[in-house]
Amino acid sequence: MIQNYHKITKVLATSLGLSVEELVRSYDRATSADMVAVCELMCVGFGVVENLSAEIIAWRYFNSSRNTSDIFVLRYKGKLIGAVGAEPIRVKVGNKEYEGICAADIVVHPDHGKRGIGAWMNLHLQHKFPIVMAMGSNENSDTMVRRLFRPMNCRNHFKMLFSVKNYLSIRGWPIFLIQLLSPAATVLLSFFRKPQLASIPPEYELHFNDSTEPLAEFFNNPAYHPRSDNMVLRSAEYCHWRYDLNPKSCFTVLQLHHLGSLVGYGVIKKNETEPLQDFQLMDWDFLPDYRTETHLQILFSAVVNYAVEQGAPSLYVMASDQLSTDSLRKTGFSHRSLDDGFFLFAHEGIAPELFDEKKWFLSFCDTDEAL
């Protein structure tokens, strides 16, 4: 498809009564002055969606310190008629690193739908950036995304249930039966869970923090280097933006210290609604010497204990790499039949192992539906 980019761009430009140059010039990063129009466009295109409130759009795509954004907009006859989120990412493939974007929230004004505009907006991003990831699709974009990107089926979902109360009420069980069964069932779940949880050896310590500030020590440690897997690189700055400044969700950072040094972390998303909703383990990593099944089990067990103490009814984790999925199973998480993927595009010349599904590390941190 990308080979036909120039031909397709010319055809679309002609259809809109524009020259190729005018079309390309009309599609660029939004400025801060466009924020209201972007919010209106998203509202018209998607309806009222919790993940796309004005506050979330501002946080996610508009950096108030500079007059630019991480969202591309298409202007036509003086109006914004299309937009695509384009979060900058740095992708590690083997020993190489590439600049790319994660495309999300593609929207075209309904008055201009089915005109090829959404597909071209994606195609143009693929022409412009060497790697483009898309973490999901909606019913309007699914066929297009599947034709423009390569599906990568490597997201494995895991769950651990702590309380059956929510579980049964969602499934329509009568309240009296839930009240009768849930205390005993919760005790039983706890009984079966405990033997699989790893205890913390005496030379290790756990610390919890509601800010990502301690992660600067982790990422700035000279011993730290990213996993060998393909992954979107994290940094202290990224974590600060992703978690501390996130207007939608609250997070707790779990730090694992060994002999006084920070050697690993996990970020837990707390859904602090009433009644308390499921928790999610968003992300985790260790210093290279500590990336072992034993340490992963210690970390996952600590997250389980924390979620139980906080009263969460269950804990969800998404993982793709073998080490994490094995460790989750051994910690007692059950695999859910929700395995899905993400979508990937890369220019020729990018290391081919980028498309090896077995080599990817992904967590909820990478997905746009889990803000």
Partner: protein, 86 residues
């Protein structure tokens, strides 16, 4: 656009549209409503626009696309361009 004018039958045109929309051969009739097809999306439209331009020199502008409802409309566009054959 290719330099030599091309002609196409209705059946071949429907097959071409099926190819572009990535749907099963034989699934379209001369009266299929495009708006009911999940494959009739931005991507399908863009590919149709490119193919119409390349093969028949037809530009599908905003107004034409807005009025495109069924396969009969596509056949009609190609007929009016003088590229339909028996």
């Amino acid at each position: 656009m290719s330099s030599e004018k091309q002609y196409i039958t209705v059946a071949a045109l429907l097959n071409l549209v099926e190819d572009l929309l990535n749907i099963d051969q034989g699934s379209l009739t001369g009266e299929t409503r495009l708006v009911n097809l999940p494959a009739w999306d931005s991507m399908g439209v863009l590919l149709l626009m490119a193919e119409m331009d390349e093969r028949f020199g037809i530009t599908l502008n905003e107004t034409t696309l807005a009025n495109l409802r069924s396969t009969a409309d596509i056949v009609d566009i190609v007929r009016r361009a003088g590229s339909l054959t028996e």
